[in-house]
Symmetry: C2
Subunit: 362 residues, 2 copies
């Protein structure tokens, strides 16, 4: 979808005025107005409207992209806060769905929400799906996906008894009893928004005429939804909620590398173990093809193990393997530090291979 | 590198005024000026200038990205010409080099030019490297990589005797004798620009203080080059120069799929060959792992072979395999149409595997 969106489309949907200062606006050399589109309901609905032969048999239709977005309201504070969390440019996944009926559209909406929930579970992140305001995107139903965190800028109300959870924007802020189960008490917490879904209904498809032929071959307006994931924010928020002061921790699936192997310092009395470290890296590549490209040999052997361990902590390898004295003994062992649990274990080569066999990569 | 570039940097390099209407300019909500940077000399040189410990041992340093670029001068004609060739948004690869001396920087410049030449050769495209104007990027030496084509918008002068070639902008347009060998005559042709290299020297590194420590540990200003490839343009220009009226032709390496297999039409007298087509797709996947995901079975068997052949021509598969009568004979053969040569051959399954074994993929 285009980075530069024509103002005409945005005026047609009335979002040109609605968005106010959130929108980056610019002109071409003929003085025509454009904006850097933060979402693409107008563009994608127009695209679908141009498919004149769209049939109900082709629905649901889901279109998505991952792209860099620029927002005028973030990152221009005199003292920028939270680094990547509020950068002015960020990666976003946005997706738009077109369905043949309200019922089908609600099923699509539900299945995307479930996919988002699975995605955060696979990343090992606790995520809460909360009722949210539809804001300047619109529609009749909306949910945010929030990672609970003290530095979060959103205030959430979560029921202690049932599954109810909402952004405080959607409720009176002093509400304490749960509107869903009545029995529970709402507890306030803070969250970082990492995803947002909207049930749009026909808001955009009516305006831009996104039409398909139904079972009776009659032109029918599509039911829409839209769904966003803040790719950069997920990265930043995950590090925020998982890390300690000493060590960065990534969800294993998005850690840049899974394993760091540290050979002994040059000139130390166990220097001869260096070749065992190289051999280990080779063996891991051989027996664990899913870890190819995921194992780093930190061969800066002019530095002490201690210094390199500190660097490894700062880089956030889920597993750090120290090759030292224990590797030279009759029953060779490797010292393995598991970042996520903080545990250190001594394992034989086979034991290490067994441990790493279960590491999930993408 | 940022999509939104601060006007301050561009004013420091004096390109803010120089670029005129080519630049998309915009303001944030505090009225600060930005542009959508078409190239990133300012941003990348500032980045390198901030690496305070840069040593000659770390040079050459080459930094690159592939990103979407927006240009204000293209795509806003009332009747847009040449589709993808002059779209307002396009993918660009831009790279910037930092070297310790003029000599080293010239070596880097040369090796990037050679890499570009190899890249076009691997794509099977005839490409001419021509002397070019340094324009609003600057520097002391510049080359364009041009694909000769009648619809090209650049005018080139190429010597018939030696290797001299130049964009007409760099010579007097009525020049006919070669300035390099004196013996040859310059012949004019048209070209589509798909790459551009600049030897920048210290133009940006002086202004932004991109400095490294030399052998004597003295702070020294880096020598720079910059190098662009028009990714979208290469795609569009390749199709332009290779296709016929009837069939689109891609360079094999960037064709979306390499092979299309056509089973017979449902209800035809060779219908029973359908399972041989499915079997063939399976066998190709098994014996030619590099073609996995590159073979399409066009199972729209309600359509005639003729119609599907026409579609295959429009989609530009380098190889189309028709499974028909010949596949049912005692010595089964497949009809193979090679798009690039226009040839049709009948091959056994082994013969087809041998032919496709040499297909290069990325």
């Amino acid at each position: 979808m285009p980075s530069l969106c024509s103002a005409d489309l945005w005026k047609t949907s009335e979002r040109w005025d609605l968005m106010g200062k959130e929108l980056f606006r610019l002109k071409d050399r003929h003085n025509a107005d454009y904006c850097l589109g933060p979402t693409h309901e107008e563009a994608v609905t127009t695209l679908v409207a141009h498919q004149t032969t769209l049939s109900y048999r082709q629905l649901p239709l889901l279109l998505y992209q991952v792209s860099i977005q620029c927002l005028a309201v973030w990152g221009d504070e005199p003292k920028p806060r939270f680094g990547l969390l509020r950068g002015r440019e960020f990666y976003m996944k946005d997706m738009y769905s077109f369905d043949m009926s309200e019922e089908a559209a609600h099923r699509t909406y539900e299945s995307v929400c479930q996919a988002y929930t699975r995605l955060f579970a696979r990343l090992g992140l606790r995520c809460v799906q909360v009722q949210a305001d539809t804001g300047n995107i619109g529609g009749t139903l909306s949910h945010e996906f929030q990672l609970p965190a003290d530095i979060g800028e959103d205030r959430l109300l979560v029921c202690g008894t049932c599954s109810f959870a909402a952004n405080v924007e959607t409720l009176s802020p002093d509400k304490t009893d749960c509107p869903q189960c009545s029995a529970g008490t709402l507890v306030e917490s803070k969250g970082i928004e990492v995803g947002h879904t909207f049930y749009l209904g026909r808001k955009y498809s009516n305006i831009f005429k996104a039409i398909f032929s139904n079972h009776q071959n009659k032109p029918t307006v599509a039911e829409m939804g839209c769904y966003g994931l803040g790719v950069t924010r997920i990265l930043a928020a995950a590090i925020e909620v998982m890390s300690t002061e000493e060590a960065i921790r990534w969800p294993g699936l998005i850690a840049p590398y899974q394993v760091c192997v540290l050979p002994p310092k040059k000139g130390s009395k166990v220097e001869e173990a260096a070749f065992l470290a190289e051999d280990l890296v080779h063996t891991l590549g051989q027996f664990l093809p899913h870890l190819r490209g995921e194992v780093v040999l930190d061969d800066r052997t002019q530095m002490t193990i201690g210094k390199r361990l500190r660097d490894a902590g700062r880089l956030g390898y889920p597993y750090v393997v120290v090759v030292g004295q224990a590797a030279l003994e009759e029953m060779p062992k490797f010292e393995v530090i598991c970042q996520h649990t903080g545990e250190t274990v001594f394992l034989s080569k086979d034991g290490l291979i067994d441990l790493l066999r279960t590491v999930e990569t993408v």
